[in-house]
Amino acid sequence: MTDTYRPAEPIWCAGCGHFGVEGALLLALSDLSIPKEETLVLAGIGCSGTIQNNLGTYGYHALHGRVLPTATGAWMANPKLTVIAAGGDGDGYAIGMGHLIHAFRHNPSFTYIVMNNGVYGLTKGQNSPTRHGTRPIDAILLGLSVLETTFVARGFTRAPEQLRDLTVRALKHARAGHGFAFLEVLSPCVTYNDTYALWDAEYVDLDTDGEHDPTNRSQAFSRVTELHAEGRIPIGLIHHTERDPTAALADPSAADIGPDSHIASYEDILDRYKVERHNR
């Protein structure tokens, strides 16, 4: 038995929404009995980007905005891992937005949790692309508009049971190989943009709305846009489809790289470059 690092204490301000995200994630990992050594949590840069230190899993601190490509590379290299990307709204929707669209499009089987607080917490309060009153972007709508998306959900740290449930569903979706599980969490920053009251008043829970059919993409799209027009923000499982798990994914981490076993086939490649001689 070898000892390794002890999970850190969160560094967040008392009341920060990110506590709720971490709590839900820990519960979901234990609900699904996912071993910590098989879990790789990659986080962006921001207050949100410290979550990986607190879990006891394999943790990675990506460059600002690059958590998605890093997670994509890790998952492609070892698809046996439960890969979880996490980060802030600045990290994911400002500097890293270009990657989000491509993650939707490629549909890699890992989970991405965005802690949306409408602000840059770590750098002390600048606007993020989701800040109320700044013509905010809605990544849920964006996800719905990319036809390859398979899992789009939004939680709210004020609804912890639902958040735990959505986290479980996201992890299950990705682990079953259905694809990219995108979970945005309304996670208020009490210090620079306290939106608890605002979101309390605005949120509409689609999980408890008998009309909402998460398997119907266009209905989901209309519903979300209508709610926006009414100044409301939807939470719950917004859209979900099950893709056939990609047949036989490559697993580079298990590839045999010993040169001996491949010499003959490497020679075949080399042979294609051989120069033909006249008088052999």
Binding site: G59, T72, N78, L81, D251, R280
Partner: protein, 583 residues
């Protein structure tokens, strides 16, 4: 009257779609069948189709990496070709000019040049209904100039179009028309004005530096590649896309270079040997991630196939102006290794070494190429695949991890390298971060820890100093005058040294293959000379500046610089040195 040739230079030029490159390939096949060593190069504009393109081919008795000074046979498919390339034709050279578009423009060729004006294009359309067949027509004529047996020429055409049988007959027909033309112009089979020497033929491959490097990486166990298309690095992406899957690996075309390099980091984190390759603007974009690999201690290999900068610069032209960035780029101080290949053999060998070194130092290693090394082809001995070794460095297996007692990802060791467990391994959980961290990977700004960590990382490259690839020496080592250069300078420097030696000017030559850290070999070489010419394709003498930064005096170093996008030829470089010696 037949003149024997041992060093044969040919150029074929025309508009992009003319098939200049096909003629070069076929002519190369003809020379190779006679045992010649080959070097081929392309001179293209950046546009996809159209625009002027020149294919260059050199056949030699000894291996050469670079074109000669003048062209023996020039096939010009239009007037622009003559205007642009006519002055490069040797005094006793031949020009085969396609007069379909008008007569030969005056004033571009020296007096001794023999000109054959033939309306290839028009004849090909008239007799074979497709202009493209003019290439085989031209080949027929050239093979007679070179006194090559007709049957040989037919054989290479058949081999070339074997996959498209419907093209064999018309191409042979065009070739025969070329023979007929030669017959009418006093060049019967076996009696041309030039005769190629016979060369002892051994096994050879004809390969570009990019393909050679890509094969080296594959053989070294690289199983993850992410890239974004960019000239002149794209062939590495192409090669990996073609081959890596068969070995259980993955090649990805990412959405941009930031994604490519971070995907490679993510894959490397799981223990898979990972690579990205780029050029110019792409290598600028990747600097943040390379710095991250240095700080977070992730083995990452990056190929920089340099092209002319700054900015988007001249995408298809060669330059060596990223040297300073590779050595100093990325924020902060972190250890890195920069290797530089001078030809395809180097590219293969250094790819293997770079991959192993990145595992050993758990950090970033660059393989530096330039457009010339990347994209020109040359014949080299087949690579030895039987002696490849895979070095895992301080990577732990589960048993080793289980007995270690306590695992700290960034444990401080004598050589700075920490034992390394991969995600998925029980009891090996770690925190990996580019922020300064303690041994556990927890973020820390504690001053003492900071110093220890910086020093630990720096020790990693010191520990491999003795294993860094040594350079290639040439010329007269005893001379007090040296010549030093990397990459695209490698071949031409050797020829220049031979040329000057025949004039009684002896030079000692060094082509370093490790440029950072600056190896003891380079330091000793420069220190032992009264004067060293440092040959580079850039405006500011970046390599010389690096040597200066490690203590060499600018009094002894003389920069020979070029930045027009065109490689030196031997005479040109010899002239620059003669001027230097006179001054």
């Amino acid at each position: 009257m037949t003149r024997p040739v041992t060093d044969f230079n040919a150029m074929v030029a025309g508009q992009g779609g003319d098939g200049s490159l096909t003629v070069i390939t076929l002519l190369g096949n003809l020379l190779a069948r006679r045992g010649f060593h080959l070097y081929t190069s392309r001179n293209v504009g950046s546009q996809v189709k159209g625009g002027h393109t020149a294919g260059l081919l050199r056949g030699t008795m000894v291996p050469r990496t670079g074109m000669g000074d003048s062209i023996d046979v020039f096939i010009a498919f239009d007037a622009e070709a003559i205007e642009k390339g006519g002055s490069r034709v040797a005094q006793d050279g031949f020009v085969v000019y396609d007069s379909s578009g008008g007569p030969l423009p005056d004033g571009h060729l020296s007096d001794g040049v023999t000109v054959l004006e033939i309306p290839f294009g028009r004849l090909a359309v008239r007799d074979l209904r497709r202009e493209l067949f003019k290439n085989s027509f031209a080949l027929g004529v050239i093979s007679r100039i070179l006194t090559i047996d007709d049957a040989d020429t037919a054989a290479v055409i058949k081999a070339r179009f074997a996959a498209k049988p419907e093209l064999v007959d018309p191409n042979l027909q065009a070739m025969i028309e070329g023979f007929a033309y030669a017959d009418e112009h006093d060049m019967a089979e076996g009696a041309g004005p030039i005769r190629l020497a016979k060369v002892k033929a051994d096994d050879r491959i004809l390969i570009t530096g990019n393909d050679a490097a890509a094969l080296g990486f594959l053989v070294a166990g690289v199983r993850f590649f992410a890239g974004y298309p960019i000239t002149p690095a794209t062939e590495i992406l192409d090669f990996m896309t073609r081959h890596i899957e068969a070995y259980g690996g993955v090649a990805v075309q990412a959405e941009d270079e930031l994604a490519a390099v971070n995907m490679a980091l993510g894959a490397a984190l799981t223990g898979v040997r990972s690579l990205t390759a780029t050029s110019g603007p792409g290598i600028s974009l990747m600097q943040e991630a390379v710095s991250h690999a240095g700080s977070a201690e992730i083995p990452l290999v990056v190929v920089d196939a340099q092209r002319a900068g700054p900015s988007t610069g001249m995408p298809t032209k060669s330059e060596q102006s990223d040297i300073a960035m590779l050595i100093h780029g990325g924020n902060g101080d972190f250890p890195r290794i920069v290797l530089a290949a001078g030809n395809a053999t180097d590219a293969f060998e250094l790819a293997v070494i770079a991959t192993n070194l990145s595992q050993r130092i758990q950090g970033p290693v660059y393989l530096m190429l330039d457009q010339t090394v990347s994209q020109d082809s040359s014949t080299v001995p087949p690579f030895d695949l039987t002696t490849i070794e895979i070095d895992h460095g301080r990577r732990l297996n589960q048993h080793q991890l289980d007995v270690i007692g306590e695992y700290r990802r960034y444990s401080i060791t004598d050589d700075g390298v920490s034992p390394w467990a991969m995600p998925g391994m029980p009891d090996g959980m770690s925190l990996v971060t580019g922020n300064e961290h303690d041994e556990w990977g927890k973020v820390s700004t504690e001053p003492r820890n900071r110093v220890d960590m910086m020093d630990k990382r720096a020790r990693k490259t010191d520990a491999v100093l003795d294993d860094l690839p040594s350079g290639h020496r040439f010329g007269d080592d005893a001379s007090t005058v040296g010549i030093l250069g990397v990459g695209m300078q490698s071949g031409v420097m050797r020829e220049t040294v031979e040329l000057l030696a025949s004039d009684g000017i002896e030079l000692a030559g060094l082509q370093p293959r490790t440029i950072w850290p600056v190896p003891a070999e380079t330091l000793a070489f420069v220190a032992s000379k009264e004067r060293v010419y440092v040959v580079e394709h850039n405006h500011s003498g970046q390599l010389a500046q690096i040597l200066e930064s490690v203590g060499h005096s600018t009094d002894t170093m003389r920069s020979i610089l070029k930045y027009d996008g065109i490689a030196f030829t031997p005479l040109e470089l010899a002239d620059r040195i003669r001027t230097g010696e006179a001054g």
